[in-house]
Symmetry: D3
Subunit: 248 residues, 6 copies
C-alpha cells in the first residue's frame, strides 16, 4: 500500500474520525418509531411501522417478519434525481440498498419473540452526502427499538424481540489511505469502498467491499476492518445514548 503520508481530508477530519453524528428520536409522530439520523450533512428519516400479520411465507410460523425500503428524495442530491414512482421503476441501487437494510435490521430482532407481526422499516434520505445506507441502518435500529418498546407497552408482542444494537459505517481507500465514514466527495473517488454492519458484540452482520476502481489486498482489507470496528463502537455508543434519553 502506497499511503500518501501528506494526506489530509477536505473536512479536516482524522482518517479514523466519524463525522458529527446526531440521532433525533420522535422525529415524526405517526409511525411507532421515527428517527432523524445525521452523519455530517447526510440526513435520513428512519421509521418503523407495525403491520399486524405476516407475509404469506411466514404465515402460521409463529414468527414475525421485518421488511425495509430505502429511497432518496429527488431533491436530496446535488443534482435533482428523477422520482422513481414517476419512472414506474425502482433502480437497481435502490433495491440493493433496501435489501441490505432489511438483512441488517433482521439481525437486530428475534423474529420468534415478535409474534406474527411485521415491522416495516422506511429509510428516506432527505439530504445525501455519502454514507446514506450506513446512516439508514444506524438510525433504523433506534426507530426499531422505539417501535418494539411501543408494541410491548401495547401488549401486542409476546416476548423480548429486540436484540443488541446493530450499526453500519463506510470505510474506503482514498489515495491508498484507509479512511472512515466517507462523504460524497471522497466516496466518488475512492479506490475501494466498503460498508460494514456490526453488532455491539463485534460480530459482523454484513461486509460489502468493492474495488471497482482498484482491487485491494488482504492487508488493506484488514486495515479497513480495524478502522470500521472503531467507528462502529462509537456509533453503537451514540445509539445507546439516544435510547437512554427521553422520547420526545
Amino acid at each position: 500500500m502506497a499511503n500518501d503520508t501528506t494526506f489530509t481530508r477536505a473536512d479536516g477530519r482524522a482518517t479514523n474520525e466519524l463525522r458529527p453524528v446526531r440521532i433525533t428520536r420522535g422525529f415524526t409522530s405517526n409511525p411507532a418509531g421515527s428517527v432523524l439520523v445525521e452523519f455530517g450533512n447526510t440526513r435520513v428519516m428512519c421509521t418503523a411501522s407495525v403491520e399486524f400479520g405476516v407475509p404469506r411465507f411466514k404465515r402460521d410460523s409463529g414468527e414475525g417478519w421485518l421488511t425495509a425500503e430505502y429511497a432518496m428524495l429527488p431533491s436530496s442530491t446535488h443534482e435533482r434525481m428523477p422520482r422513481e414512482s414517476m419512472r414506474g421503476k425502482v433502480k437497481g441501487r435502490t433495491h440493493e440498498i433496501s435489501r441490505l437494510v432489511g438483512r441488517s435490521l433482521r439481525a437486530a430482532v428475534d423474529l420468534r419473540e415478535l409474534g406474527e407481526n411485521t415491522i416495516a422499516i422506511d429509510c428516506d434520505v432527505l439530504q445525501a452526502d455519502g454514507g446514506t445506507r450506513t446512516a439508514a441502518i444506524t438510525g433504523a435500529y433506534v426507530a426499531l427499538a422505539d417501535a418494539l418498546a411501543y408494541l410491548q407497552e401495547q401488549g401486542v408482542v409476546p416476548g423480548q424481540p429486540l436484540r443488541s444494537p446493530v450499526a453500519a459505517i463506510s470505510v474506503g481507500l482514498i489515495n491508498g489511505v484507509p479512511c472512515l465514514d466517507l462523504p460524497y466527495e471522497e466516496d466518488s473517488r475512492a479506490d475501494v469502498d466498503m460498508n460494514v454492519v456490526m453488532t455491539e458484540e463485534g460480530r459482523f452482520v454484513e461486509i460489502q467491499g468493492t474495488g471497482e476502481h482498484n482491487e485491494f489486498t488482504r492487508d488493506e482489507l484488514n486495515q479497513l476492518l480495524d478502522l470500521a470496528e472503531g467507528g462502529l463502537q462509537e456509533l453503537i455508543a451514540k445509539q445507546k445514548e439516544a435510547l437512554a434519553g427521553e422520547l420526545n
Copy 2:
C-alpha cells in the same frame, strides 16, 4: 344552512383560525430553494431545483417552465401507505395534487422573465394531518422565491421572474359550520371540502370545492370563500415574513 351553534373544534381553535404555521427556509442545502412548512402537525418539505433547458414543447420559445411533483412518504400517515415506486404506479390522487401544485406555482412566476430554464418543485410530505396540498403550495412559493433569487445572483435568469405571493388554504363545512384549515380528523368527515389558492392581490388562482358527502349552496360557497380569504392573507404575511429574514 343548519349551523350547529354549540360547535367546538377538537383542537379548540376558532372556526376562522389557522393552525400554527411555521416556515423554515434553507431546510436542506442541495436544492436552490428548500423549505420545511408546517401547518400544525402537517409537515411538508418543499424544494425548488433548477434544470437548464426546457421541455420540448417550450423549446425555442424564449420562455421557461415549472413542473411540480407531490408525494407522501409511506410513513407520513397514521397507517403506513405502500410506496408508489414499489407499486410501479402513481395514484390518481398524487397526480391530481401534483398538477394542482404545478398550476398554482406557475401563477407565481413570469415564464418569459425566466429564460429557457426549468424549475422543478418537489413537495414531499413528511407528516400528514390534513391540508398537505395547501401547505405544499404555500411552502413551495417560498422555496421558489429562494431559488429564483439564487438564479439571479448567478446571472442565469435574464429578468425578474418572481411574481407576488401565492398561498393556499382549505376550508370546509363541518356539521354545517364553515371552518378554516381542516386537520385530518375534520377533513375526513367534512360535508364540503374546498381548497383555495390566491395571490396577494386577492385574485384567485384556483378554487376546488367538492361536496361529495353533501352538496353546497351558493350562500355556503360565499361563506367559505370569505373564510378562506382571511386565512390566505395571514398565510401570505407569514410567507413575506419568512422571506424577509436571513436564509440559513
Copy 3:
C-alpha cells in the same frame, strides 16, 4: 374586468348559449346503461355497468359503490394521441378527470339504497372539441339512471338509489368576457377555465376554477357561476327529457 364589448364567438353563439346538446340512450347494448352525449362536436360514449359485490373497503357495510373511468380514444383529438395502454401509464389529466367524474356521479346515487353492488361508469371520448369532462358527467347521469332502472327491474337493488339529476358545464373568461360551454379553440386560450357540477336543486357538487393564464376576482367568479347555473338548468332539462323518452 376589461370586457371586450365587440366580442363575438367563432361559432356565433351568444356568451350564455350552450352548443347543441344531444343525448342518445341505448347507444350500445351490452352495458346496463349506455348513452352517447354530444355537446357540439364533442362526443362521449358513457356507460354504466353493474358488478356484483363491492370493493374491500365497503365490504359488509350494506352500502354500494360507484367508480368511474374517463379516457380519450387516440384518434379523438386533432393530432392523434398515444394510447395510454401502450405507454403502460395513465396520464395525470386522465386520472384527475376520472376522479372528478366518480365524485360527481356518487352525488347522484344513494349508496345505502344500492345494496352491496358496484356501478362502473366508463366515459370514452370518441371526438374531442372541449368540454369532454362536462359532457361525460352529464351523459353518465343518464346512463346511470338507465342502469339503476334495469337493476330495479331485475330485483337486484333493494331501494331507490337514484338521486336527482347532476350535470356539468364549463365556463370561462375569453378576453375578459364570461362565456358558457367552451369548445377547444376557446378553452385553449381562456384566461380562466371553470367546471361546475350541480344538482337539479341548484346545489354545487363540485366547482373547479383555474386561472393559470390569469387569476380572477371574486366578482368574475360570481359572473361565471351565474352563467354556469343557467346552462346547467338547461342541461338538466335535456337529461330529464331524454329519460322521459322510450329507451331504444
Copy 4:
C-alpha cells in the same frame, strides 16, 4: 366430418350468409379517415391518422410505414372488461390482433408510393359480438382509402399508395358445419375458428385457423376457405360501394 344436417343458426342465417354489414364513412372528423363498421351487433370505429416522418428503421428509405392498434372499450363486452391502461399492461390477445391488423393493412398500401409518412390505424371496438378483428380490418381499409385520398389532395403523398381492397372474415365449424361470419355465441363454441384476409384479386394476405377444441382435416379446411372466399367477395363489394359514395 359428421355434419349435423338439422343445424340452424340462432339468428336464422344461412351458413354462407354474412350478418348485415354497414360501413359509415366520416364517422368522426379529426382523423384523416374515420369509419364505423358494423357486422351485425359488432361495431368498430376504425380511423387512419397521418404522422409525418417514419419510425427509425425506415428513416431515409424513401418509404413510408403503417402501424395499427386494436383495442376493446371496457364496456364493449357483455361483462365489462378491465381497462388495459389501468392494468398498465396490454393483453396478449390485444397485441396479437393489433399485429394482424397491421400486417393486413400494409398489404393494402404501397409503402414506396407513400413517401416517408406514417399511417396510424386505430380500431376501437364499441360493441363486441364476435368477428371484431375481421370487422376492424374491413373497416380500416375504407378509413385508409379516405386518409390516402386526403393526403393526395394535400399534395403530401408523392404517388398512388392505395392498393386494391383487403377485407377479412371469420369462418368456423359449428357442430361440424362450416359457417360464415360467427357471432360471439357461435365463436365461443366453435370447434374450429378461422380468420381469412384476402385481396380483391382473391389472393390471401393472411390465414389463421385454430382447432383448439378439435383439430380439422384438409378437407374441412377447403370447405372453410370456399365459404370465406364467397363472404370476402361480398365484403369487398360493400367496401367499394361505400367508397363510391359521398364522404359525409
Copy 5:
C-alpha cells in the same frame, strides 16, 4: 406462380428437406420434463413444470390447464436484443408466439384426464436461426410427454392425459418456390411465411399463413400445405423416436 427453376438453397438442402433435427431429453433436471430441441442452428430449451391447482376460471371444473411462455434470450439473435424484463414490457411478437404454443400444446393433452393440475410450458430460445416457434412446439410436446409420465408415476394424475404427438413446421415461398423449414436468412426474405401445427393423424391444430410481402393464391397454399405435411410426419417420427429412448 413464377417458380425459379434454377433455385438452390443457401445450405444446399432440397426444398422439401428439414434441417438436421435433434431432440435431447432430460436437458436440465429441475422441471418434470426438459428438452433441448435443435432445428439446424435454432436451439430451444423446452420445459414442462407442474403446478398443483388450476387458474380461477378452471376451479372446481375437475379439469386441468396448460399455459405456455416463449421467450428469446437477449444473446440468442445475431444482434443482441434488449431483455424484456428490463424494458418492463413483453413485446407483441412474444405474446403472439406464447399464445400459439399454448393452444398447440393444449391440443396434445386431454384436460379432463389431467385432473386439477396445471402444466406450465416454457420455451426459451438459446440460439435463433428461424423457425423458433415451430421448434418450440415440437420440443415442448416431448417435454410434456415426460412431465405427464412423471406425474402418472407419482400417482398425481388420475387418467391418461397425453394425446397423440403434435409438431410444427414452417414453410414459405422463396422467389416463388415453396420451401420447407426456413432458416432466418430465408425467412426474412420470404414472400409468404406459414406455420403449420399438426397431429400425428394429419389433422391441423393451427395454420398461420402470412403474405405481408406478397399475397398467395389458393394453389400456392395447397403446395405449401403438402410440403408441410411431409415435414411434419418426419418430425413426429423424430418425437416418437426420442420418446422411445431412455430418459437421461
Copy 6:
C-alpha cells in the same frame, strides 16, 4: 467457533473442495463470446456481445463501457419461478446480482483500451443449484476474453483491454464449519454466506459476506477468506486452461 468435527457434506466433498467445474467455450454462435459454465449442477450461459458506441455518460470520453444482466430462466429452479418479463418488474435480487456481475467484470477490462465500445454481458441461469452468481462471473470472464479477442481480430478495439482473470466463489459456515462452493441445499441453511471475487494476483474485487442467520467473528471471516482464496486460484487455473484450448 463451535466446529462440528463429525461434519460431512451431502455430496461427500471436502470442505475446501470445489464442485466439478466445466467451462465450454463457443456454446452458442451469435454473440462475440459465449460460454456455458457449470459448477456441479449449476449451469449458466454467459455471453459477451458488442455494441458500438457507449452510454451517454461515457460519450466523448474515449473510454468504453461494460454492462451486465443476470437472470434465471423460470424453469431453472426446483419450483418454477414466475418470469420477470411477465410480472413487468425485475426483482431486487436480480438487480443486485446484475450489478455485482457488472462491477466484477469491469475490473477485468481496461476501459481506456476498449475505445468507445460497449460490452454487454448476459448471464442466464439454465439450471440453479447454488452459486449461480459466482459461476456467472467466472464464466463471463471467459466469454469476455473471447469477445475481446474477436474485436481485436476485427480491428475494432484500439488497445489491449483484457486484464488478468477475475473469478468468484461462495464460501459459508455450515453448522459452524467453513465450506467452499455451497450448493443450494447448503446455501439455504448456511449461518453465514459470502461471495468473494478476486483477480489472479490475489487482489479482491468484491467481498460480500452476510450473516443474516448468525453473525460472524473476525476470526471466522479470516477462515472463510482463506478457503475462498484457495478455491479462486483453482478456478482461475480452469479459466486459463479453457482459454488456452481451441475455440469450437
